[in-house]
Amino acid sequence: MTALALSGPAPQMPGLDRIRLRFVELLHDRKAEIAHYALAAWDGETAEDINQNLENARGILHQISGTAGTVGYPELGQTAQQCEAQIIAHLEGDYADLAICPGDIIWFIDTFVEACTNLTDQA
């Protein structure tokens, strides 16, 4: 998948290969955690339950969006950032107190998880 090709200035830094490898290793677990929280939010029956699961997913997405670009995967980082923005918009929006998990968030996270899977499979 070309979207996950290395790019930017990061690959030029000595020692980055080791960090990138660790990033991809961590990504495998992080991706699974995000998917878990997203499904739990989708199945949640109370606003508190849904929002807490979305908040947990957001925390991990935030970490990925902060590092992916630097280790050479800027588009993965942007995808994570889009997911995070969707979740923040919901949590700070007018419907945050309703027991609703917007389908758009699940769709964005599905796209992100697929991108992660492509990357971890390639590595």
Partner: protein
């Protein structure tokens, strides 16, 4: 430099450690949370850290609160604090500066930019070791020193909400985005006859006056989003990003009214009657690069000119009774 990096993401910490070891001779320590960081700082003892890199968004105590805690610690009143922030957290940057941050770097890192910012901090740390530019103001817990102060020196003011160092102000305005510049305005107040106060008072007393006036100005600006710094020569530089366009004459009157009520005294109980003059408010829209820093200089210059003009007119008897 001895650097403490704090971030809950282990990848960020590895990146920073690798980066700092690759591009400089730094001694880097990492912490995965604010409480760990505080413990490390306290354990540093006689070999304090030269610089902090703090993630803004961390579970538990966030980076902004940690920055505030560091500023309250002995030895760390002016130590550079660089906040690490994702673009989505930019809205928290003002709070971080108000808490004592010196600068910020956005994640994901642009390594060239990060290298530049670390180099700047390194130079600042070096200059701090060789000059008193950064440390004319001792920490609040030890303000009884009788050190000499130059009227023109910027003074780092501690524990006043929304007041930041001069360096932090420069970093802040130089990184404002185009959209932020749209609603931003800079303006300044200058103490009238600051040289008289500086000559008549001890260094410690003069600092207290500068702090008291700063508190009065920030109280007068309550309700508006702003940051302020003391630039030296009796001048306080302010920036607002909220789209508010201050009416400077009215604002000056409001500040002076509060100053008159504050009854600021010298140590021997004599009332000092500090009053300020205001310069013009300068909008930052359409400005970039050096123009933004020039706007700060112009705001400062106009305020100092207004203070000088006020004093001149007090003795300009030829114009008394005349109207425009």
């Amino acid at each position: 430099m001895k650097i403490l990096a704090t971030d809950d993401d282990p990848i960020i910490l590895e990146l920073l450690a690798q980066f700092l070891n690759t591009f400089g001779d730094h001694d880097i320590t990492t912490a995965t949370g604010a409480l760990d960081a505080i413990a490390l700082i306290e354990a540093a003892g006689a070999e304090p850290y030269d610089c902090f890199l703090l993630d803004i968004q961390m579970p538990g105590m966030d980076g902004t609160t940690l920055a505030r805690r560091i500023r309250q610690m002995h030895d760390y009143g002016v130590t550079p604090i660089i906040m690490l922030t994702a673009m989505s957290e930019k809205r928290y940057i003002d709070s971080a500066f108000a808490a004592g941050a010196t600068d910020y770097v956005t994640k994901p890192f642009d390594l060239t930019e990060l290298r530049t910012r670390i180099s700047v901090v390194e130079q600042l740390v070096e200059s701090r070791k060789t000059t008193n530019f950064f440390a004319p103001a001792p920490h609040p817990t030890s303000r009884t020193t009788s050190d000499v102060i130059d009227l023109h020196d910027p003074i780092a003011l501690h524990d006043i909400d929304y007041v930041i160092s001069c360096i932090a102000m420069e970093n802040y305005v130089s990184q404002l985005s185009r959209s932020s510049l749209f609603g931003s305005t800079v303006f300044a107040f200058t103490l009238r006859q600051p040289e008289v106060l500086c000559d008549a008072l001890s260094a410690a007393e003069f600092k207290f006056v500068i702090e008291d006036v700063a508190e009065v100005i920030t109280d007068s600006l309550t309700g508006h989003q702003f940051l302020m710094t003391y630039a030296g020569s009796g001048t306080y530089l302010c920036i607002t990003e909220s789209g508010w366009r201050p009416d400077m004459p009215k604002l000056m009157d409001a500040v002076n009214l509060r100053l008159s009520r504050a009854q600021i005294m010298s140590n021997d109980g004599k009332e000092l009657y500090p009053r300020v003059s205001a310069g013009v408010a300068i909008r930052l829209i359409w400005k970039s690069g050096d123009q933004i820093l020039n706007a700060l200089s112009n705001a400062q210059a106009s305020s100092e000119a207004a203070a000088a003009e006020f004093e001149r007119l007090k003795t300009d008897f030829f114009h008394i009774g005349k109207s425009a």
